[in-house]
């Protein structure tokens, strides 16, 4: 059984159909890159997988380990092992990162029927994870993403990814707002989390990110469909020739 199967997915926002029958299969251990021009539906796909309100699925399905993901609340999807790293992580004033992560992790564990982590148990775990990713401890004491730089926000996303240990990670335009050094640090974090059990779906506009996170498969999206799939070389080809060639194909 595949980890994540998107089958002939059609999605509308109000009167506009954004995805016109998208199919994608992701197996454990694989890293898939989804590339495409602005407006091709890349972010819509990530939002629909995570369960963001405001999208209407008119046809098709999304299965996660064979279960119908679209029937689940966003928090249930997270507890099952779906993680979306946001393109623009939000700031939550008045809620410390530490409290937020502790509450979220325990909520996930509760949904899975696992025991709750006490404060000391959680502290130990989050410290280990932060240390392994070279993330400074003081970030945990601050309000969630409040006053964080673009790079710090992405590192916070990666910290959460490491803490929640999801089965599939969707990285939505992880490179936006990052300079080259911050990009490398973020990519190192992602690479550290690659494992034979975990799949990654890397959504990006530019090939640049794929120099740091080497994908197994590259899919080109245009106008709400996957128009071409291939190996990592496809990204280089795109870098040279641009997306224009696919506009007609779609």
């Amino acid at each position: 059984m595949s980890l994540l199967e998107v089958k002939d997915l059609k999605v509308r926002v109000e009167d506009n159909e954004i995805l016109h029958g998208l199919t994608l299969t992701v197996n454990p251990g694989e890293v898939h890159a989804i590339m495409g021009p602005n407006g091709s539906g890349k972010s819509t796909l990530s939002h629909v997988i995570a369960g963001k309100p405001g999208y209407e699925v008119t046809d098709g399905q999304i299965l996660f380990r064979g279960e119908d993901l679209l029937e689940m609340e966003p928090n249930e999807r997270a507890a099952k092992g779906v993680f979306l790293a946001f393109q623009y992580p939000v700031e939550i004033p008045g809620v410390t990162t530490w409290n937020f992560l502790h509450t979220a992790l325990n909520a996930q564990r509760k949904t899975r029927g696992e025991s709750q982590l006490s404060s000391p148990e959680f502290l130990k775990k989050v410290r280990e994870v932060a240390k392994s990713l070279n993330i400074p401890q003081d970030m945990l004491k601050r309000g969630v993403n409040v006053g964080f730089s673009g790079g710090e926000k992405k590192r916070n996303e990666i910290l959460q990814m490491a803490l929640f240990e999801p089965a599939v990670c969707i990285l939505d335009e992880m490179d936006s707002g990052l300079d080259i050094d911050a990009l490398r640090i973020a990519a190192d974090g992602v690479n550290a989390l690659r494992s034979p059990d975990r799949a990654m779906v890397v959504i990006t506009h530019y090939q640049r990110l794929l120099n740091y996170i080497i994908p197994d498969f590259v899919h080109v999206m245009s106008k709400g469909r996957v128009v071409k799939s291939g190996g990592k070389d496809l990204a280089l080809e795109l870098e040279a020739s641009g997306y224009i060639q696919f506009e007609d194909a779609a």
């Binding site: 609340e73 928090n75 997270a78 008045g94 509450t103 979220a104």
Partner: protein, 441 residues
């Protein structure tokens, strides 16, 4: 006297209940005269209604309809129920002073082992035997406000606390108002706290219902005088029955170099109003007055503040937050007046409301009246809903919707709770918020 005005909406003559109660009310001579004058003042308007500017959002004629007769003194069964409620509310380490159905109950209170310089008497005792100065101070609240006047006329009991010069109390004081009567009845209480010079105290006021008490009316007031170079930390928590009324007033005066940090949270009662008048009578004093309304169902809660900068060099801060769900209605009226002599006044007021449903309502009415020219004053008001993008982010991290909302609500009210300086009092406010959030889940 105009008998037409003296009737309320249901047609019952208000003067009847005063006439019936009068013989039971403590105090003769000057006290009885003060009561009669207060009742006459009340009768001129009766229950305040929306055509009176100060009451336009809280129309007691429509919401309350009538003033109920005073509750009977609690019997043994009532005291037993009250004792159970007190047990839940009493703060560890605080000196509990308990009023049940408007009567001070020594048996449920801690009246022994008073710290040196601390005097506690009952209002009844002071009105019956006390000195004229204390009595005058007890009747100092302004009868122009009809609900203050009504309260002045009907007060049965309360606590009168005096703290001598130079005495800083170690043990917090907690006045617990318990309603235990299952009858539809009213309680009318008033307490007084006098802090001398260089003194300090911590006061908590709690309003709760014992098992079985539902449709009562609590009419209460607190008179506070803070002497020069003294400090009062104050928290009040209104967790009355969801069918009850709580109409309370506070009249606070500060001397020079004095400080008043006060926080009020209303999560109980069907209809409530807390009206506070704070007057700076001495220079270089400071006030932080903060509050939170947590409302749902059809609750109505009104917080009305009058901050009187009568003298120069004083600072005041007001941070108010309202969280309103279902068909709840929160009212905030904040008026700051800076008198002509009050140069170098620094006064700021910020009120924000969070509406959790389409039918929730919040009225914010901040007012600044400035008659001095060298001052720093400001106010702001916002009303909004929970940010959907924050909620989705939190849900995508595994939090069920209600839990995500709870974290955001805690953060929102935390801006007001964070202004409580005393650690123990802040914890109380956080715990009260927690109780409200848990009841919502």
């Amino acid at each position: 006297m105009n008998l037409v005005l003296a009737k309320n909406e249901t047609g019952r003559a208000l003067s009847d209940s005063f006439a019936i109660a009068r013989d039971r009310l403590p105090g003769a001579g000057k006290v009885a005269e003060a009561r009669s004058a207060a009742f006459e003042a009340y009768e001129r308007t009766g229950l305040p209604h929306r055509r009176i500017e100060d009451w336009k959002y809280t129309d007691l004629r429509a919401l309350m309809r009538e003033v109920l007769p005073l509750a009977d003194a609690p019997d043994a069964a009532a005291l037993k129920r009250a004792a159970a409620a007190v047990k839940l509310q009493a703060i560890k380490g605080a000196r509990a002073l308990v009023l049940v159905d408007g009567v001070f109950v020594p048996k449920l209170s801690e009246v022994g082992g008073l710290e040196k310089g601390l005097t506690i008497r009952t209002l009844r005792d002071v009105l019956e035997t006390g000195d004229a100065t204390l009595q005058a101070q007890l009747f100092s609240p302004d009868n122009d406000n009809p609900m203050v006047a009504l309260n002045s006329a009907m007060i049965t009991d309360g606590v009168v606390i005096e703290i001598a010069n130079g005495v800083v109390l170690k043990q917090p004081l907690q006045i617990i108002h318990v309603a235990s009567t299952p009858a539809a009845a009213a309680m009318s209480t008033r307490s007084l706290l006098r802090l001398g010079r260089d003194a300090g105290a911590t006061l908590v006021e709690s309003y709760v219902a014992a098992d079985g008490a539902k449709t009562y009316q609590a009419h209460d007031s607190l008179v506070v005088a803070i002497g020069d170079n003294s400090r009062l930390d104050h928290v009040r928590l209104v967790e009355d029955s969801r069918d009850a009324f709580n109409i309370s007033s506070a009249v606070v005066t500060l001397g020079a170099y004095a400080h008043f940090n006060t926080f009020s949270m209303t999560s109980g009662a069907a209809v409530s109003r807390y009206q506070a008048t704070i007057t700076f009578a001495g220079e270089h004093s400071g006030v932080e007055t903060n509050g939170v309304n947590l409302l749902d169902g059809r609750q109505h809660a009104d917080r009305t503040l009058f901050m009187d900068h009568a003298v120069p060099h004083c600072a005041s801060r007001e941070v108010f937050r309202a969280v309103v769900d279902d068909r709840g209605h929160s009212v905030f009226q904040g008026r700051i007046i800076v008198r002509p002599d009050a140069q170098k006044t620094d006064a700021k007021m910020m009120t924000r409301a969070l509406l959790l449903s389409d039918e929730a309502e919040a009225n914010n009415k901040p007012e600044l009246e400035i008659f001095a020219d060298d001052v720093t004053c400001g106010h702001g008001a916002t009303t909004g809903a929970l940010d959907e993008s924050l909620l989705f982010y939190m849900r995508a991290r595994g939090l069920p919707e209600k839990e995500a909302q709870a974290l955001l609500i805690q953060a929102f009210v935390g801006e007001a709770i964070g202004c409580v300086v005393n650690d123990d009092l802040r914890e109380l406010a956080i715990a009260a918020t927690q109780r409200w959030l848990e009841a919502r889940r």
